[in-house]
Amino acid sequence: MFKKTLLGTILASALGLPAVAQDAYVIGLTGALTGPPSSTYAPAVEGLRIYIDRVNASGGVNGKPIKLILEDDGAQPSKAAANTKKLITQDKAVLLVNASLSSTYAPMVAESKNAQVPLLFASGVCPQSVYPPADPLQFCTTGYAANYDSQAALDFVKANAKGAVKIGFAAMAIPLSRGEIDHAESLSKTMGMTPVDKEVIPPPTADYTPFATKLKDAGPNWVYSWAPWVTQVRTFEALRKLGWKDAMIAWAHLESETELPRLKDDRFYVIGANALFQDDLPVHKEIIEAAKKADSKYPPTMMTEGWIGGMAIEAALKAAGWPADAARIRNAMETMKLDTKGLRGSVIEWTKDNHFRTRLDYRVYRWDSAKSSIVRVQDWKSYAVK
């Protein structure tokens, strides 16, 4: 084996392959920049990139620039696997970032484990392995989290409903969304609600009305959906077209801030872990300005997830010092506390066995036609993570 390696090294140097001498932190990201689900991930990646560019423009971290290498996987697992391999072996990335569909997790985790390079999930849903007890190599900053989201959403429904709750559910026919909605359905029973119907809708659907018809005929007075934005909003619109007048709560994806003013519906609630731009924090102004400067084709309101991911990367590198290898960055991440400047309800805190965060906060928003703007209907409500 040693001989082979030696031979390989000699040959490699003889062939003049690029030697590894880097004067920058190399971060490798693979994300769904194209492909069907890219509308959720591409803006986040754009936000992350703009954030890192800004860090570099102001002198980098510990005096060194961050070299962010973006690879597209089109939400395809095999492309994600190839990308990860390339990022690790050729680019020598010391930190991997995933911003893609959950189907890309398995191959990426496998590669990161092989090479012992830490992996940050920065806009896809957090996998089970970052919750306590966490996998040592995986971290997550993404806002949405299976099980907790439904708990928070149903808590809100319970607190705001008048009288008995008959609840309907809508999921997209992808394993993740179906699993969460199944969980929510059983949860609703324990909370004293009556689940009346559950629609699982295939991703490419010409017309949502047939699904909405069935949902409406079951007679719910609340509907909850935890699915990609398209499914949530199109189910809602189809329900409204059918003359359904009750309230719906859905997850506040990146799109919600541009979509609520379009829908203009007072009884469509969105629940989320990120502060919307409506709250007008100083950090929001920063994002808007940076996006304008970068001349981005995505609206700044869709960049929050990426921005937080960028913050986490910067903080991790700062704590790891220079020179930093994968192990040092991992160690630094394990004790990291990230102040999101108000983008989240509390500090993102990672511990040895919790790589998700110790506290999780939710805000609820809706459109208010009297004020003609988005309003906050529930301030940060905090949940402790196990």
Binding site: L11, S78, K85, T89, L101, A106, A110, A173, R178
Partner: protein
């Protein structure tokens, strides 16, 4: 090796053994040897990224060879290739995950799945031709994918099934170089099977069916039997490729086998050149390497970082353009170009074959 005509300047074969030999002349032997040495040295010379690319290419070439057998030779169009790869991968994934079955169980099991599915995929071919056949394989693809998705959801593997690398005698196959040699052996075996099938009775029967079914039937060829045989053999090889894919990547997930994968395989045999095994291999290499070429070319542009989000859309569009260009201007594919170059040197200084004294 891929050409039916002898390579020597005349017909010098005196024994049956010589007639059946795959490598005929000394020059050919020498070149083959050099080629083998180059293949053996490659993993030690190349970086890990190139190695991964080579492994991807080897996997793709198995799939492309089996599709070439079916479409390029037997003339049966299939748009369900990704479904077959998925079937092989899922057989492996389910067996490995549910029963912990080792490599030497899952591989034959995958092949068996391929045989069964090949039979099912092949049944419509007895009734349908051309376009309608393509559509029926497409429908079967959707059904395989639906079943796989249901399995994932019902068992709670929403992010895909992770499987352990295969082990031989207690040693797990993890190293990229070891994988390279395993895949190389598999691809070579697949190629040999194809070459031998094609120069045997079944290969000639397929060619006859491809050319004209009625005539083939009049010649005493069992159309139904050979059509099904083509489907079964091709599907078995494809499923084995799926099994290897599952182990190589360490996971199985239904999203990895979408319609675009089928299209990519069809693109391989079109770009490579229909009706040629060499074409299948060249096409596989082209389709695997092409996106990386485009990507690197764009990265050389100034301000590439800003374009990052666009590179991939460009890549996608460029893939479409290249496919169109090949279909319009080089229907014989890469192998057509290769043969032209070969002929150029073969006939030099003539531009065309001289009328008298030429080989037939």
């Amino acid at each position: 090796m891929f050409r039916p005509t002898p390579r020597a300047s005349g017909y010098f074969r005196t024994t049956y053994a010589a007639d059946a030999a795959l490598v005929q002349t000394r020059t050919e032997k020498i070149f083959l040897l050099l080629f083998l040495i180059a293949l053996a040295v490659l993993p030690f010379a190349a970086g890990p990224f190139i190695l991964d690319l080579a492994c991807q290419f080897l996997l793709a070439s198995i799939g492309a060879l089996s599709l070439m057998l079916l479409t390029g030779y037997a003339g049966q169009i299939s748009l369900g290739h990704a479904g077959l790869i998925a079937a092989g991968a899922f057989t492996t994934g389910i067996l490995a995950r549910e029963t912990g079955a080792p490599f030497w169980v899952t591989l034959p099991a995958s092949a068996l799945t391929g045989i069964v599915l090949g039979f099912l995929f092949g049944l419509p071919s007895l009734r349908l031709r051309g376009l309608y056949l393509a559509v029926s394989t497409l429908a079967l693809h959707f059904i395989v994918v639906y079943l796989g998705g249901e399995y994932e959801t019902k068992r709670g593997f929403s992010t895909g099934i992770v499987i352990e690398p295969p082990s031989f005698g207690g040693i797990a196959l993890r190293d990229g170089r070891a994988w390279y040699f395993v895949l190389l052996a598999a691809a070579a075996a697949c190629l040999l099977v194809c070459v031998n099938l094609l120069r045997s009775r079944s290969g000639r029967a397929w060619l006859a069916i491809h050319a004209r079914e009625t005539v083939a039937e009049a010649l005493g060829i069992g159309i139904a039997r050979y059509k099904l045989l083509a489907f079964v053999i091709s599907s078995a090889m494809t499923s084995v490729a799926g099994c290897l894919f599952a182990y190589y990547r360490g996971f199985v997930s239904i999203e990895a086998f979408d319609l675009f994968l089928s299209i990519q395989y069809v693109a391989m045999i079109i770009i490579g050149g229909m009706g040629s095994l060499l074409g299948a291999i060249l096409g596989a290499a082209f389709v695997v390497v092409f996106p990386y070429l485009i990507e690197n070319a764009i990265r050389l542009l100034p301000n590439a970082q800003r374009l990052a989000g666009d590179i991939f859309a460009v890549n996608y569009a460029a893939f479409g353009v290249v496919m169109i260009l090949f279909l319009l201007f080089e229907p014989l594919g890469l192998v057509g170009i290769w043969r032209r170059i070969q002929n150029y040197f073969l006939l030099w200084p003539f531009k065309q074959r001289p009328l008298a004294g030429g080989r037939t």
